[in-house]
């Protein structure tokens, strides 16, 4: 069964006035929706036309490239350029960190940094029970 709003809508579409009897049966919420519907129906065309240009159409023989394509290329170019910087910085930072680590390990082990430090012998050292190394500044 049709609801009251649907019936009111039928009157709107046919251009007839909505009977008062039908309006009186609508509750506040339905009345609010109905007034919104009427405003919508009356003003939508005008509102849409505000955003649409009225220039005539002229057939262009060269098919235009979609406007979004240059944006993709521009963004890709930005990505490529910017990716170079973090990657370079990461490599460079890793190098600095390694240098710091080498220096630190050299100081606490009082040895030169070589791969020997990571050899089985050195790894078997009981680092937890080793004498603490006092560092004045770090």
């Amino acid at each position: 069964m049709k609801d009251l709003l649907e019936k009111a809508q039928d009157y709107l579409d046919s251009g007839e006035a909505i009977p008062e009897e039908l309006i009186s049966k609508l509750n506040n919420s339905q009345l609010d929706i109905l007034s919104g519907m009427i405003a919508f129906k009356n003003e939508l065309g005008t509102e849409l036309d505000k955003y649409i240009s009225s220039k005539p159409f002229i057939l262009k023989t060269d098919k235009r490239q979609s406007t979004s394509r240059p944006a993709v290329w521009a963004a890709a170019a930005v990505l490529i350029m910017s990716l170079g910087i973090p990657v370079y910085e990461t490599i460079d930072n890793n190098r600095l960190v390694k240098q710091e680590t080498r220096k630190f390990v050299s100081e606490i082990t009082e040895s030169n940094w070589t791969m020997d430090i990571l050899s089985e012998d050195s790894l078997s050292t009981d680092w937890f029970n080793a004498e603490p190394v006092v560092m004045e500044t770090f």
């Binding site: 919104g36 919508f40 159409f57 057939l59 406007t67 979004s68 394509r69 993709v72």
Partner: protein
């Protein structure tokens, strides 16, 4: 046909324009035919895409090319405007899909390189100059509902014609239209209330 006896395209009906275009491939006739419907096409493209001027012009160009290619095969089984509106809607939907892919790609790329303070491309794209509560309320609806409302309330198409354009049964058009209008009206009232 003798050129001297030819009427101006402006004086011809849609049907006669199509016949003449089929026969002579006159661009002037084609342009005239399309210009008759250009406002409606722009409205449909706008309501489907919620687009910018560039989007709309792209869709019109794509619709025009498809029409230029398809018009010689037009068999008058349906109303020309029904055929044209369906073509335009399809092109607009293709445009959205293509843009959606590009937008996601751009968004992903920009998110990778931008700082937190910068607006995402989606936010930028949403910041179009849509200030009216009516259009804002319309744009909160799904695409089919937006197009239904525009075809019915702005283009004044019959339920039968809308059914042919959207390729959905007439009964469904009616029920969906009702639902769409209720939702649009609710959105509109809410937006008006928020303005106060």
């Amino acid at each position: 046909m003798d050129n001297r006896n030819r009427s101006f395209p402006e004086d011809l009906s849609d049907e006669d324009c199509i016949k003449r275009f089929k026969e002579h491939k006159e661009e002037a006739v084609f342009n005239c035919l399309l210009n008759r419907h250009i406002k409606s096409i722009r409205r449909i493209a706008f309501s489907v895409t919620r687009g910018t001027e560039d989007d709309i012009e792209d869709i019109i160009q794509e619709t025009a090319f498809a029409l230029y290619k398809g018009l010689p095969g037009f068999s008058f089984n349906s109303n020309f405007s029904t055929y044209l509106y369906r073509l335009c809607r399809n092109k607009a939907i293709d445009h959205i899909r293509r843009n959606e892919r590009n937008r996601k790609l751009v968004s992903r790329i920009i998110n990778m390189v931008s700082t937190k303070d910068e607006e995402s491309p989606d936010t930028v794209l949403e910041k179009k100059d849509i200030k009216s509560s009516i259009t804002a309320a319309l744009f909160e609806l799904p695409e089919t509902e937006r197009t239904l409302i525009v075809l019915k309330d702005v283009e004044h198409k019959s339920l039968k014609e809308i059914s042919a354009i959207l390729k959905i049964p007439e009964g469904t058009v009616k029920s969906k239209l009702h639902r769409a209008r209720v939702r649009a009206a609710e959105n509109y009232r809410r937006k008006e209330y928020e303005k106060r």
